[in-house]
Amino acid sequence: KSESVAELSPQKQEPPLLSMFRQRYVEKNGRCNVQHGNMRETYRYLTDIFTTLVDLNWRCSLFVFVMAYAVTWLFFGAIWYLIAYCRGDLDHLEDEDWTPCVNNVNGFISAFLFSIETETTIGYGYRVITDQCPVGTILLLLQAILGSMVNAFMVGCMFVKISQPNKRAETLVFSKHAVISLRDDKLCLMFRVGDLRSSHIVGANMRAKLIKSKQTQEGEFIPLDQTDISVGFETGDDRLFLVSPLVISHEIDSRSAFWDMSQAQLEKEDFEIVVILEGMVEATGMTCQARSSYLAEEVLWGHRFSPMMSLAEGFFDVDYGAFHHTFEVNTPSCSARELSLAAARLDAHLYWSISSRLDEEPTLAQQAATHTVNGLFILK
């Protein structure tokens, strides 16, 4: 099974994914389609029991909550009953002179009730422990301590589960499509991110990863290899000030993985862009992470995002109805590399000390471009 993945050439692997429904690594809502199987070291999950409990869904969590309390109550109730039984209290129920361990405990039910009253510190008073019972005193001590510990643990789990920061990611939205168009004469890959709440995301930073299987020269097939897509890491543009929807742009330069990708090639490509927004929830100070992904068919060539901000009386109005809308613009369908080569050719005449005719007549720039291209060929 997994060995066969290594043996299979990537050519054999890829076409089934393309022709059928393409399996996504990350869903649009950020959930990841990975399941962990054949895990032998299960003790690890028990050592980290707190995270195991908090990670459970709500049904299981409530079940564990109820069970933790019920089990301790029953356990101690049984011990109180046992003490009463062993002391002979149950035989002397009607006896006035007999001081039992616990007053008015005459069966398992009343022992159970007494245990609940003690552990939850209600202490009605109908069932009272007497001072003639040292074992009972010790048990009372233990139950009081254990009760407060279990209480602390359960309340802590509940609190952590309620205030989980990853719920904040529900109100962080990404656009449905990514677009590629020209910005300042450079091809850029762009997508939009927005924050639906008025409270801020502190220290928000954006990063993107390209998920694409590849094969190295030595024949190693790396499935779902992750490479970084720069959305401003070096310049600090990846640190966002997110109050209104922002368009995040990745400039396709020579180091980018999309340098050689043209419009025609985009339709044949098979990759996935995972975008990750991390930041602190303003209220609790806990870091949350919002994710989304764009497949190759969700990247639109030659589109631009519709504007959504308008100026109203004293504030800026954001129209979320236009959040996912794009419109077509004129974009060259060649790759970024070809675009830069063409631009270099057009600029080449500036570095030549030949006729100033070229500079005087800008309308002849096209002719000049062809001349220079021929000239370069000769030199080579």
Partner: protein, 512 residues
Amino acid sequence: MAALRRKFGEDYQVVNTNRATTCSAAPVKKKRQRFVEKNGRCNVQHGNLGGETSRYLSDLFTTLVDLKWRWNLLIFILTYTIAWLVMASMWWIIAYIRGDLNHGHDSSYTPCVANVYNFPSAFLFFIETEATIGYGYRYITEKCPEGIILFLFQSLLGSIVDAFLIGCMFIKMSQPKKRAETLMFSQDAVISQRDGRLCLMFRVGNLRNSHMVSAQIRCKVIKSRQTPEGEFLPLDQCELDVGFGTGADQLFLVSPLTICHEINTKSPFFDLSQRSLMNEQFEIVVILEGIVETTGMTCQARTSYTEDEVLWGHRFLPVMSLEEGFFRVDYSQFHSTFEVPTPPYSVKEHEEKNSLPSPMSTPTPALTDSRGARRDRVFSVDCINSTEEKGRQNVSGTRLPSKLQRMSSSGKEDLQRKVLLIGSQHSEKACSTGDLPLKLQRLSSSPSPEASNRLQLKSLKVGFEPMTQSTGDLYQPNLAPSPLPMHSPVLSGGGRMEDNLPPKLRKMNADR
């Protein structure tokens, strides 16, 4: 380095003779002390603190949380029990002083606390108050001012101690370092080639479905060394680049990732080869830090790889497979590796081999102005031009023109250095030629075309020593350009030495 080499001097011979049998086992190595265990625990104990122990008490909270669970529970129970005993005895003292104890069951007498007439009942009353159970059989009456004061004091103190202990308990339970248990590292690290570059790789995996936010990985190499000034640095840490500059160290850890460190000139493993791996001693400590998604607390997972856990020429088995609607990770293959053919040379040797066969050295400005040198230099310049033109006319597709380009543009300094090295003193161990005698020992058992040349080099080196008086003379023969064939790079290197030798020897004979 010299000290280590002397220490493992006898190991060299042993390894050479046993090379045919096992390459992976180092027979003379004994079990060495690790800095960091595989599970991340660090083998460092702090001793002889002297007067600094009071600091631990000032920061009582962290001290309590750092203790093991059994000590925590013991402290918890003891605090409650002893505090309660002390307080209960105070209640009993009040009852004793007031004389309540003698009026046990007297219904007309109002004691301080109703129905408390001996120590057990006093203790029970105390527990009921402290744990806020309050059954009601034993209760405080209003005829007892000192009792009321004690009651207030007990309630307040009880609440404070309760909150403190329960807070400690909660923090200890929700410790983010437990999250590190469900972050897995591969048992071994491997070295193999990726896209023509030698890389050191290991695997990291996240066993839970909840994510690690802002996951970041970094590595340190722990290796004792001695500086040229004589300072011995035990367990010196230096950084291993796993993508810091590009942002590739920020991981998106959903399925197991292979972290790759490219071995280049800036890497501390630049001169690590398959043979030297068996004789070196280092430890790679890997640190993965991230924020636990559920609690928002930062956790750190650590592991370490010693030199015997680094496998040369292996690759990790893939663990991901595609199922219906999801990707499946098979953790039984997580630690498995398989062998792939990998050249056993270090990156340094590889680069040296590639840049060594440059037949012409470029005219260096640091040369002397003796007439002979000038003549040779002019001649060499012409030759350089011819070779460069030849290179340009060559269709770009073979590696050689690029080598020439490299040589002419950036390789100048390398060549200049190499020329200097070849003529330098023998005693300089820090340079690459200092390793030459050892290389010869290693190569002696393996027949290779370079061996003969290297041997010649060694003999040449011996002859070079008395020749270092006049650098001008030295550079002359090295610059003597002869149109050498470039197709057998190594042989030409040896051939060059041979061509250069006769004039030098001739000079030596002439001097003597």
